[in-house]
């Protein structure tokens, strides 16, 4: 193949683009804003790998085991094996391109403990691992930009894929500066658009991750997978605009969770699970916190100012800046919040969707994490997934001539023009706020059938008015046209959650509290003439 469009320039998009360019393939790297604004820069804690100088007793097989077990056996064994086997190569690569990893005194790479893992295998860069990786990857992208192999397209957003007869031929992009849609023909299209925070409003992540692309592709016939598995991070701090993540690294360094009863501290995780209780997988900790029914706190003060200054400076700064809390002197009030999406675009082990030559990698794709992701595995998955896509594309011959999409482009441009000509008392953001409320109510840590059914009818109502309201001239055009795709993804998510009548990992149903062996398969949702059909991937059509 010769020309590829990559949508999204976070870690997955950049890793994929660079690998494609290394194979001599021309890449258009599309994102409205530069990589420095992507959610990837927010990743704090680290990236997992088992290197040759690993902790005693650790092995790649242990990493595989921990990942599969942490994901409640829903992830594909072969896929996870590939991920963990390639992890040492990923770390070596990141080091070679200049990522500034934290070092031990002897100059070797430092590592820390992360939740749900049997060994310390999380490599990190201070408290800004994602940012340090993005900085290094951006330089690599630049190297290929100067060689003419990668072309960045800023101010451009994904609108839709060019699909005909089950094959993808590129994408329609919206250019915010010219206000026009344009068709970008390519041999393959790679989605790397991140998670779907906008469904929930306030989360720990970036406002740029809205899920529109997944929702739009779904309506174009692309299957989605495991949407019901939404990771609530147990330790987040409430602020007026978002939930600030208090990194798992705090507990990795020894931080303890407690609640107060008659003025006494109850270390509920340690009481129930022993010494490692605070570092149980995220789904377990979040569910235990919710079950206390009280305010919970995370204490790191006993670690001392020196260690906090050295190992957890970003956590220290967030707490003091946004809430006036001195972590070295007092506990942090914490509560679970939406943080990561195990579900997304359904892909096979080559990261290809059910549409030929349409791929997805990074958080927008559902891969490796099963029903619950382990901290430190998603940065790894973003890079590794980007590489798998690039290698698959590099091995594939050219797609042949693209069909004529001129009529479609004309039609979509006309739709946009009609949207511009309308105005409404309901701005788009208002409906997005309503959606966030619905999702928080129906897709919290614990769900049940009747609230999920209510959620679906709420979203149906929003969808029914979304086509009519439209243009808010004071918002960027993308915010307007993306609404329907976001709502579509929300409805698909609720449909998956309603259909899974069991509790597993991050999906807890009060009406079906037990796991069912017969349901230990990925859920897939397909769009069939306006219907959302949810089915179990028993034959492993996708991840295996």
């Amino acid at each position: 193949m010769d020309k590829v469009v990559v949508i999204g320039s976070g870690i997955a998009g950049c890793a994929c683009a660079v690998r494609l360019a290394e194979a001599g393939i021309h890449v258009q790297l599309v994102s409205p804003y530069p990589s420095e604004r992507s959610q990837s820069v927010m990743a704090a804690g680290g990236i997992n790998a088992v290197l040759s100088d690993c902790e005693e007793g650790d092995s790649i097989a242990c990493h595989v085991q921990d990942t599969l077990r942490g994901g409640h056996n829903l992830a594909g064994t072969q896929a996870v094996r590939t991920l963990c086997e390639r992890a040492p190569e990923v770390i070596a690569y990141l080091e070679r391109i200049g990522t500034v990893f934290s070092l031990e005194a002897d100059g070797s790479l430092a590592r820390r403990a992360f939740g749900g893992q049997t060994h310390r295998r999380t490599y990190y860069c201070g408290s800004s691992t994602g940012k340090q990786i993005v900085s290094a990857l951006v330089m690599e992208v630049r190297r290929f930009e100067t060689q003419g192999l990668i072309r960045r397209r800023l101010w451009s957003s994904f609108h839709s894929a060019l699909i005909r007869d089950g094959r993808c031929f590129g994408a329609i992009l919206y250019d915010e500066k010219s206000g026009n849609l344009m068709a970008e023909h390519a041999d393959a299209l790679v989605m790397a658009t991140g998670g779907q925070n906008a469904l929930f409003g306030k989360t720990t992540g970036s406002t740029q991750c809205d899920g529109y692309a997944a929702g739009k592709l779904f309506a174009q016939g692309v299957d989605l997978k495991n949407l019901e598995f939404v990771q609530y991070h147990p330790t987040t701090l409430e602020t007026s605009q978002k939930r600030m993540l208090i990194s798992e690294a705090v507990r990795g360094e020894g931080g303890r969770l407690f609640y107060l009863e008659h003025g006494e501290r109850i270390y509920f995780m340690e009481e129930k699970y022993g010494d490692g209780g605070n570092l149980m997988p995220r789904d377990v900790v979040s569910q235990e916190m919710a079950a206390t029914g009280r305010e919970t706190y995370l204490d790191a003060s006993f670690l001392g100012k020196d260690l906090i200054d050295k190992r957890l400076p970003e956590v220290r700064d967030i707490c003091s800046k946004y809430r006036g809390i001195d972590v070295a002197a007092e506990p942090i009030p914490v509560a679970p919040s939406v943080h990561f999406f195990m579900g997304g675009i359904a892909v096979d082990n080559n990261h290809e969707t059910n549409i030929q030559n349409l791929f997805a990698a990074g958080e927008c794709a559902s891969m490796y994490h099963g029903a619950n992701r382990l901290g430190g595995n998603s940065l790894l998955a973003a890079i590794c997934g980007g590489w798998v896509v690039a290698d698959t594309i590099a091995d594939r011959s050219r797609a042949g001539a693209s069909p004529d999409f001129a009529a479609l482009l004309r039609e979509e441009n006309q739709k946009l023009a009609r949207m511009r000509d309308t105005s409404s008392v309901f701005p788009v953001m208002y409906i997005r706020d309503l959606l966030a409320k619905t999702m928080a109510e129906c897709l919290g840590i614990v769900r049940n059938d009747s609230s999920l059914a209510d959620g679906i009818s709420d979203v149906d109502y929003y969808l029914s008015i979304a086509e009519k309201i439209s243009y808010d001239p004071s918002a960027m055009m993308y915010a307007n046209y993306s609404l329907v795709g976001i709502l579509t993804l929300a409805k698909a998510t609720l449909a998956c959650a309603r259909q899974r009548r069991e509790s597993r990992g991050a999906h807890v149903r009060s009406d079906y509290p037990a796991s069912q062996d017969s349901l230990c398969h990925a859920s897939i949702v397909s769009y069939e003439n306006g219907r959302y059909r949810v089915w179990l991937d028993k034959d492993k059509r996708y991840e295996r």
């Binding site: 420095e36 927010m42 200049g98 100059g107 330089m139 500066k177 970036s206 406002t207 800046k321």
Partner: protein
């Protein structure tokens, strides 16, 4: 409190100041304040006229991505980590960064930052930790390199710089720091990158160092300069 905002609907529309009466609290950030104004079905200015939502860019909302860079009371800042409690005076004045073309209201096009770094091909390419010499030296230099790699490319250092105008020849502090990172991490490129540093920074920097005062990542540009000027 009265909040004045410089508005501009499109890159080519005229600019105008618009005032808003806002109930602010001390712990409100400027980002929070903008959201607060925008979070109404109908938005009225301080004259009671119906107006449009204020356009501004954000992503992380915690000072980690540089999206929300703007000028508040004449100071270039990140809106999401500037709080009402930090501001003096009885009004708040917000305008877009001046050194970049406006796209919409407070949203500016900072593509020139990336274009300049690309035109000079600032990239490490290949890092070999064993090249640096002793482990002690490696660990010691690590800190500054880590700080530099945290550069948000937000453009605040360029906004405040008396020497940076349109970025055509002088590329500013963020460029100087990235040059340092490349020089330190790839010895074989050190001479070439130092020459580029001289051409696009060292030669014209008047050492006002105001860039360091506004840098959200608190990068010590002077440390990079000390090395590269040698």
């Amino acid at each position: 409190m009265n909040v004045r905002i410089l508005r501009q609907l499109t890159p080519t529309s005229p600019t105008r100041w618009e005032g808003f009466n806002v109930d602010v609290t001390d712990d409100m950030s400027i980002a929070g304040l903008l959201d607060h104004i925008n979070y109404n079905d109908d938005i009225f200015d301080d004259q009671g006229n119906l107006t449009t939502r204020i356009g501004w860019e954000c992503s992380c909302l915690q000072g980690a991505c540089g999206a929300c860079a703007m000028v508040v009371n004449d100071q270039p800042v990140l809106a999401c980590e500037t709080f009402v409690r930090d501001l003096k005076g009885s009004t708040i004045e917000i305008r877009p960064l001046r050194k970049f073309p406006v796209v919409h209201d407070l949203i500016v096009d900072r593509s020139s930052i990336h274009e300049n770094l690309t035109s000079a091909n600032v990239c490490i390419e290949s890092y070999d930790p064993n090249e640096t010499g002793s482990q002690a030296k490696l660990v010691k230099r690590q800190r500054h390199q880590y700080e530099i790699a945290k550069c948000l490319k937000c453009g605040l250092c360029l906004e405040v710089c008396p020497n940076y105008t349109n970025g055509l020849t002088f590329f500013g502090a963020l460029f100087a720091n990235d040059c340092y990172l490349v020089a330190m991490r790839n010895k074989s490129k050190a001479a070439e990158i130092k020459a580029l540093y001289g051409e696009h920074f060292g030669r014209d920097c008047s050492k006002a160092l105001s860039c360091m005062d506004v840098c959200p990542a608190q990068i010590s540009t002077i440390s990079s300069m000390a090395h590269l000027n040698r």
